[in-house]
Each structure stands twice: as structure tokens, then as C-alpha cells.
Amino acid sequence: MIRIDSVTKRYPDGTVAVDRLSLEIPDRSITVLVGPSGCGKTTTLRMINRMIEPTEGTISLNGADLQQQPVTTLRRSMGYVIQNAGLFQHRTILDNIATVPRMIGWGRRKSRERAAELMERVGLDASLAKRYPYQLSGGQQQRVGVARALAADPPVLLMDEPFSAVDPVVRKGLQDELLRIQDELGKTIVFVTHDIDEAIKLGSTVAVMRTGGRLAQFAPPAELLSNPVDDFVEDFLGADRGIRRLSFFASEGLELTTDPVVRVDATAEQLAAPDAPYLLVTDAEGRPLGWAEPGDLTAGDIVAEGLLPYGRPFVPGADSLRAALDCAVLSPTGWAVAVDAGGRVTGVVSQQAVGEAIRAAHSAADTGDARAVGPADIAKVAP
């Protein structure tokens, strides 16, 4: 655990970058520091590896005051990833990644083997090993930056806006990759960003900081979205926090119905049976084809081209309530289509039913039923 204990950073000109900040950063999870520019988030991060020394207060790692350790030893036990990667342009990709192992005295051969292993882990093709940084895209360079930070297997990883300089598509790929790597390695990660969506997506716990270097709120993302502590945090979260909070509720609890689902080769009796305003037609394997009003369907003569589109289906269990609601809103009939991993229809659910599930999830969360909002297990359901 990294413990930041009433730490203040005051510069000689009187500027206060961080003001009496106290935080307990849990082990083996991602803690995000987020806030507008000038809120002291980067200063806080850089005080953890003593790139900046605090004016007052102490920072300790597993109970040991960081001030008592030699600064290079301390930094070598913490991976450091910065914006634009900061690669050494005169070294090949492999040698960039091997930097810290070489520095702590591993042999050249062992260091390079380790570097090659890390290239694979961060999703870099082995053919890039002998390239130089200028030959890589921004996203690839950032992957090298992460691999370099992980090379000596440090328990702590400090990341300073590492994905801010790449385009949104690449950024999403890097974020997913970081979550996957974190699942495998379980590092203690401190991640700085100014992007609240990134904070909510990556963080197990999020520290929202305000201008002047003070902590506004420190909470898991689901709690942040449901209970912003004041107007500043609420503003910072943005207008649609209610919708975004649904990302943290699982869609398993939705009551699906298969009544309005008919196969493309259904008989006239099967078509007449359901008492529903719309029928969902599936192919012979059960994959959705589209919606139709019961009166428009003739047994034995159903053509996929004549049906209403069914929108984007969701997968109960894998997708969140937010995804289910999105499906229902996008569907022209107001009904969301649920499918299994193989794309076969498992049922449909109306907007009303999704709405009821949302209310139920909210009241469960408010009465402290952790099943729906447990940050660790469901927090990473993709929106």
C-alpha cells in the first residue's frame, strides 16, 4: 500500500501544487488521479517516485518512508510511463525495453530475452524488435513505453497521462490492453489522467482532485457516479452520469421473454399464438433476422428483406445494463434483443422491463446490496 499522509507541495514562489493531500492507494489495483489541469495530479504522482520532493507530509510504501530510501533504488522498484512514451530514439525497441534490466545488472542476453517476452505481452509484433522508435506509430511507441516500465517486474507502476496523445480508437485499444495486462500481473498502478471517462473505465478507485491541489472525492467509480460529493465533482463527471453508472450494473437480472420470438419457417398457428405487438423473426439456427407486426407475416413466405432492423443485440452477463438499455433505445420497436455468445436469440426485453431493472438495481445499490455494484467483479463490464 502506498500511503500519502497530509502531503503539501509548495514552490518557492508560493504556489501550492498539492495541499494537505492524504490518500491510501491499495495494492494490486488501479488507482486513478483525475482532475482539471493545475489540480496537482501529476505533481502527486511525481512525488511518489521522488521526481518532486514534498514540502510537508510523508509518503510511505508498505510502511516504509520513501524519504529513507536511496532515490535510484526507489525509482527502479517503480515502473514509470509518461505521455508520448519518452523512448530513447538511439536505441532499438528491444534495447529500449531492456534498459532497466541492464541497469540493475542483468546480462545482455537475459535482458533481451526478457524484453522479447514483454513485447509479446503488450501486443507488439516480434518483427519490431530491431526497429527504432521513429519507425513506430504513436500507439506502438506507447506500448513500448509500458513494456519498458514492466521490464524489471516492479511491484508499482506509475503512469502519467500515458494515453493522452493518441487518437481515440488507439486509446481504447491501449486501455483494454492495460486492463488485460493488469488482470494477468496485478500491479499496484497509479494512473494520472484528465479524462474522466478514462478514469471511470480504468480505475478500481478514483481520486478526483480540484484546482489548488486538494482532494475532492476518493471512491470507486460506481460510487462516484451515484454519489458525487459536491457540485464540483458532479460537474466534472458530466451530464450523463446516470446513464454511465448503468455500466456498473450487470444485465443478467433482466427478465427475458421468448413469447414474441418466431422462426422464419413458423406455421400459421405459431405466428398467431403470441399476444404481442411485434414478433422477432429468427433464422433456422436462432439468429435474429428482424421485427415485424404479426399481421404482416405470412407463414411459409417470410423474407428477411421485409423485416424491421433489430438494432444491436446485447449479451446478458457479458454486457451491462447500459448496453441493454442502448439496445432497447436503438431498436425501432423499443424491444432489446438478447443473444448468447454464439449470436442465437435467448429472448427479448422491453424498454419498460429495462427501466424496472434499472430501478431495482438502484434500490439494491442504495441499500448496500453489493451484488450489483461490487467494484472489483462487475466494475469492468464494458459499456
Partner: protein
């Protein structure tokens, strides 16, 4: 007679290729003065330039020293020191070193200053020691500019080392000074041609050094 005839006559005279006043001997002396002056200037200019560039402190002092040194006329300095300490190697070396320091010092300082701060921050953050940051992160990237500073210093020293002859030393300047004194223009033009050729050879050496020493990742090809 035109200039080419002078050159032709100078180099085809077999007497020019032997003895203490022969071309090989004079070339050797000239290269020795150049290397010595360049070595001393680099031993002063490189470390000072690297350190001031790395720390960012002393930039104004560097600029002041460089400007002041550039304002000193080499020939005037030579005569002044010869008058004070007498004839010898010292009055030759001092003006040459003073001439060579500004380009080495200023370019090295600027080269290190202009290195992208991000890799330096990354290196420091991963626990690299400061001397290693300077020598293994900043210098390899700054190297093309550092070499260009050494190259301009070398070219200036090669052409200015001719003044050694004025205080009775050797070098290619011997031909020019003696030629002027003896009104032997063949010698003057031949000496000048040798200086020009030596300058070109210096360029070639630096071109090769850059190919060998600068990483393909920095050269970007």
C-alpha cells in the same frame, strides 16, 4: 601563368616531396598542430558544454565566453603572446585553442539543450544516474550537432594553423609565408591548395565519423 599552372608546377617539382621542407613533413606538422589544438579545445569545450547543457545553468556565461573569444583576432593574439613568452609552440596553440573553443562549446551546449526532455524525464524516473542520463541518453541524441561543432572548429583550425610559420614553426603555412617573402607565387599557391585539400579531408573524416558513431535511430535512415 595562371593559378593552375602555379599549382601544377608546385606539385610536379620532385624536390617538394622530400626532406624537412617537403610536402609530407609539412603536412604532418600541420596535422599535428591541428590535432593538438583541437584536442585541447575539445577537452575544455566538450565537458563544459555537456555539463552546462545538461544542467541548463551557465548558458549566459557560455554565450559570453564564446562571443568574447570570437572577437579576439588569432593573428594579433599570436604576436602578443610571442612578444610576451617568446617564440615556440605556446604562442601558436593559444590562438588556435581560443579559435576552436567557441564552436565546440556553443554547439555542444545547444545540442544538449535541444534534446527532447521526455526521454530524459523517463530515464530519471526509471532510476538512471545523472552521468548516465547525460552520456547514454542525451549525448547519443545530441551527437550529430556535437560533431558539427567539432567539425567547424577543425576546419577553422586547419586553415588558421598556417600562422605557426610566422613564429618560425613548420606546417603548410611555411610555404605561404616563405613564398610571400621570396616572391615565389608557385609556393604560395601550392601551400594554399594544400590547406584547402586538408580542409576537404577533414570534412571527409567527420562525415565518416558521423556515419559510424551516430545511431540509425537518430539519423533516421
Amino acid at each position: 601563368m595562371n593559378v593552375l599552372d602555379f599549382v601544377n608546377a608546385f606539385f610536379s617539382d620532385s624536390a617538394q616531396w622530400h626532406g624537412y621542407d617537403g610536402i609530407p613533413q609539412r603536412l604532418l606538422e600541420h596535422v599535428q598542430y591541428t590535432l593538438m589544438a583541437l584536442g585541447i579545445a575539445a577537452a575544455i569545450g566538450l565537458p563544459v558544454g555537456l555539463l552546462t547543457g545538461h544542467t541548463g545553468r551557465g548558458g549566459n556565461a557560455v554565450a559570453f565566453v564564446a562571443t568574447a573569444a570570437r572577437a579576439l583576432p588569432s593573428f594579433g593574439l599570436l604576436v602578443l603572446i610571442a612578444v610576451v613568452v617568446g617564440i615556440g609552440l605556446l604562442p601558436v596553440m593559444i590562438p588556435l585553442v581560443v579559435l576552436a573553443i567557441p564552436p565546440i562549446l556553443v554547439t555542444t551546449y545547444e545540442a544538449v539543450r535541444s534534446v527532447d526532455p521526455a526521454p530524459v524525464d523517463a530515464a530519471r524516473g526509471m532510476g538512471m544516474h545523472e552521468p548516465d542520463i547525460l552520456l547514454r541518453v542525451e549525448l547519443p541524441v545530441a551527437l550529430p550537432l556535437v560533431l558539427s561543432g567539432l567539425r567547424s572548429a577543425a576546419i577553422q583550425v586547419v586553415s588558421t594553423a598556417t600562422i605557426a610559420a610566422y613564429v618560425s614553426l613548420g606546417g603548410i603555412g611555411r610555404y605561404i609565408i616563405d613564398g610571400l617573402y621570396q616572391r615565389d607565387y608557385e609556393k604560395v599557391v601550392g601551400g594554399a591548395t594544400l590547406v584547402a585539400l586538408l580542409a576537404l579531408a577533414t570534412l571527409a573524416v567527420f562525415w565518416a565519423a558521423e556515419r559510424l558513431a551516430v545511431s540509425p535511430g537518430v539519423r533516421r535512415r
